[in-house]
């Protein structure tokens, strides 16, 4: 096989270093999309989980819809989003929100619903209202599932940003990827693939760190 089709690790490392400034500026664009999308995804996911937990009728109404959003292939809707919202940040963020809110919603819902009914009764006996039961029992009880969901969402956010950039954009690692592919620069292609998975990995570790900070009782067990 030709060396340019399957470059050696050394070649990949070399091009990673020479392309480093370009890679970093593209990363910045991708990361800002990923973080904006993830942030909004968390907000949407949290909101959906709370209202679906609180009102059974909304649970019945939204659950199938929420599932449906995940059965539509991302690559299929991305071009449509570009068509409707242009080449700027908006379509990318929307795509990321669609992919990231789901693990958050499902994680939180599972957590909320697994609250011990006896603990809820105890708080009710103390005279607690729905808000206090949520604050003292449901929310902290769902943290573990929330973080499991967040870990998945964080990696989805980066991948989602890259995929949406493939289909149109002025910058970002996805745009860079399509460019080097068209130039048959596969060493650079591998360098950017490496960078994307490194970023995902870092984000997931970041989430784990955050989880440890937020759940100190788990550390002392």
């Amino acid at each position: 096989m030709e060396a340019f089709l399957l470059p050696s690790p050394l070649q990949v490392a070399k091009s990673f270093l020479t392309e480093f400034p370009a890679l970093m500026s593209h990363s910045l664009i991708t990361l800002s999309e990923a973080f904006t999308g993830l942030g909004l995804g968390i907000l949407l996911g949290f909101f959906m989980a709370v209202i679906m937990d609180r009102f059974e009728i909304l649970y019945q109404a939204f659950y199938p819809l929420v599932i449906l959003t995940q059965t539509v292939p991302t690559v299929a809707i991305a071009p449509l989003l570009v068509l409707w919202f242009g080449y700027e940040m908006a379509p990318k963020v929307i795509l990321i929100v669609i992919t990231t809110f789901f693990p958050i919603t499902i994680g939180l819902l599972t957590g909320f619903r697994s609250a011990d009914p006896d603990a809820v009764s105890l708080l009710r006996a103390m005279g607690a209202g729905q808000g206090q039961i949520f604050l003292y029992i449901k929310l902290p009880g769902a943290l573990e599932q929330f973080f499991s969901g967040l870990r998945i969402s964080a990696s989805y956010a980066v991948v989602g940003a890259v995929i949406s950039e493939w289909l149109g954009g002025f910058g970002g690692l996805g745009v860079y990827m399509t460019r080097v592919k068209k130039a048959f620069a596969f060493d650079k292609m591998f360098a950017v693939i490496f960078l994307v998975s490194a970023i995902s990995l870092l984000l997931m570790n970041g989430v784990e760190l955050l989880q440890k900070l937020c759940m100190p009782w788990k550390r002392r067990e």
Binding site: L122, A125, M126, G127, Y136, P140, W217, E221
Partner: protein
């Protein structure tokens, strides 16, 4: 003067009566046990007294005012300690104060004074998973006490503990109660426990459950473990067993 009065309470589930015309009184500083088999309606009665469910007939009065179906007046404690794993012991214990709207710092300040009294000193900053079973029950009892120093409902609080821990916690309980004199309604299916701790034992038997007998444990306090090994203790136990066995529907259980 009775601090808690349950007056003719009846409750059914799915058309069948669980408890019927149950009345009892708890006087200030008294410990009354409700003794009966599991599934005999004790927990149903507790939920009604705690205001979590509404009886079909009858009323619950606390200090003279009607509290039927009104939670937030009387707290209870279950077999499960229900300490929240993500809160430190002090924050768990302070929970009823926070629910009532007290500020966190004030609540912590208030609860800190009780840790020694309840034999919990040094556990304030620990998490429940770091405590032994007996200590968890103590913390749960302190939380119950801080909720309402007037009346406590304890639903088989020590029945999940092993025999030695249970025996140690009985001794501890008698000592602490000597100091704080909490008016307590205590559910149990353990006859020894009922006799050891109570001023009165009410037998809740039959289907639907009714209070069929009340036995006064006229034994001076402070009581010790010695009492549990005495002839008098056996006499009370014999009496209770006699009444329980005398009731036809229960014969199968004993």
């Amino acid at each position: 003067m009775a601090i808690l009065r349950v007056d003719g309470v009846t409750k059914s589930f799915h058309g069948s009566k669980i408890i019927e015309d149950v009345s009892l009184e708890l006087r200030e500083g008294e410990l009354v046990s409700l003794l009966g088999v599991s599934g005999g309606g004790k927990t149903t009665l507790f939920n009604i007294i705690a205001g979590l469910s509404q009886p079909e007939e009858g009323k619950v009065f606390l200090g003279g005012s009607d509290v039927t179906g009104k939670p937030g007046q009387i707290s209870y404690m279950l077999q499960k300690d229900l300490l929240l794993p993500y809160r430190t012991v002090e924050d768990n214990v302070a929970l009823p104060l926070l629910v009532k709207g007290m500020k966190k710092a004030d609540a912590r300040q208030k609860v800190s004074g009780y840790f020694e009294k309840f034999g919990l000193e040094g556990t304030q900053k620990k998490y429940p998973s770091q405590l032994s079973g007996g200590m968890k029950q103590r913390a749960a009892l302190l939380r119950t006490y801080l909720f309402s120093a007037r009346v406590a409902l304890l639903d088989e609080p020590f029945s999940a503990l092993d025999m030695l821990t249970k025996s140690a916690i009985h001794e501890w309980y008698l000592q602490v109660m000597e100091k704080i004199r909490l008016s307590t309604l205590f559910v149990t299916h353990d006859i020894d426990e009922a006799v050891l701790l109570s001023d009165r034992v009410c037998l809740l038997t039959g289907k639907p459950g009714r209070i069929t007998k009340e036995i006064h444990i006229c034994e001076p306090r402070p009581r010790t473990k010695e009492f549990a090994l005495s002839e008098r203790f056996l006499e009370y136990k014999r009496q209770i067993l006699y009444y329980l066995e005398d009731i036809p529907p229960l014969r199968g259980f004993l």
